[in-house]
Amino acid sequence: MAVASAALDAQHHEPVDQLYAETRDMRLIGFLFFLFSDVVLFSSFIFAYLYLRNSGQGWPPQGVPRPDVALAALNSAILFGSGATMHYALENWKHGKFFRYAGFMIATIILGAMFLTGQVVEYTALYTKEHVTWGGSGIFGASFFTLTGMHGFHVLVGVFYLITLLLQSVHGVYSKDKYFGLTAGTLYWHFVDVIWVVLFSIFYLI
């Protein structure tokens, strides 16, 4: 880490290369389009869920319990907390504070892993205590496990993505002026947070 910190300090005064400066906005727009495609994917499932929910007699269907709000609220606070730590990781990188950046990055990874653990606990409780399954609990089970599972998969990918970014930054891939990968990682992680705001609201709060 000391090597990476020294490399970061040495790179502070290097001019940004022309190609990077010219293509940075294009990369950003490209990444935002990628996130938008994910928004479309989630939106289609969310609207399908809301349509099915409002076309039935009652919600959740008879015999299917509501998911545990207390655990979901704690899990949400954990995931939103990881969004805040990720934001401060990027801010510290921009200001050349490598060790603070690494600390916030590690905190984000740990909080992401904690969220996934919470989701496993919730799934296990739903399966063992309430007998709610993907295929055996009607449209509620199918839509709940599909949407939250798809989100959980995005969080899992995000955790590995952040680990990769941390290792890359330790090995001097990024500098104070060239850090688009970290910006993309932060955007991705915020996107995962924002999707959870919607899922938390529609499955647990309304």
Binding site: P65, R66, A70, F80, A84, H87, Y88, E91, H190, D193
Partner: protein, 69 residues
């Protein structure tokens, strides 16, 4: 005190911290230009909103429904 109560207290405490921290980050970044920073500002505002939802859910103001018969 059962597990659900502990989860609710932790959710409220975590939600308050996240809401305050994200609001401060949003305030600090408010005048920062650039497309990426504009997206970050929207994301931080939504993060703050999500933290408020977690607080209200933890406190029992949201997501509390009568038991099914």
């Amino acid at each position: 005190m059962d597990i659900a109560q502990i989860e609710r207290i932790l959710a409220i405490a975590g939600g308050v911290i996240v809401a305050v921290v994200s609001a401060i980050a949003l305030k600090n970044d408010w005048k920062t230009p650039g497309l990426d920073n504009t997206v970050f500002k929207v994301m931080l505002a939504l993060l703050c909103f999500g933290a408020l939802l977690a607080i209200f859910a933890g406190a029992g103001f949201l997501g509390t429904f009568p038991k099914a018969a």
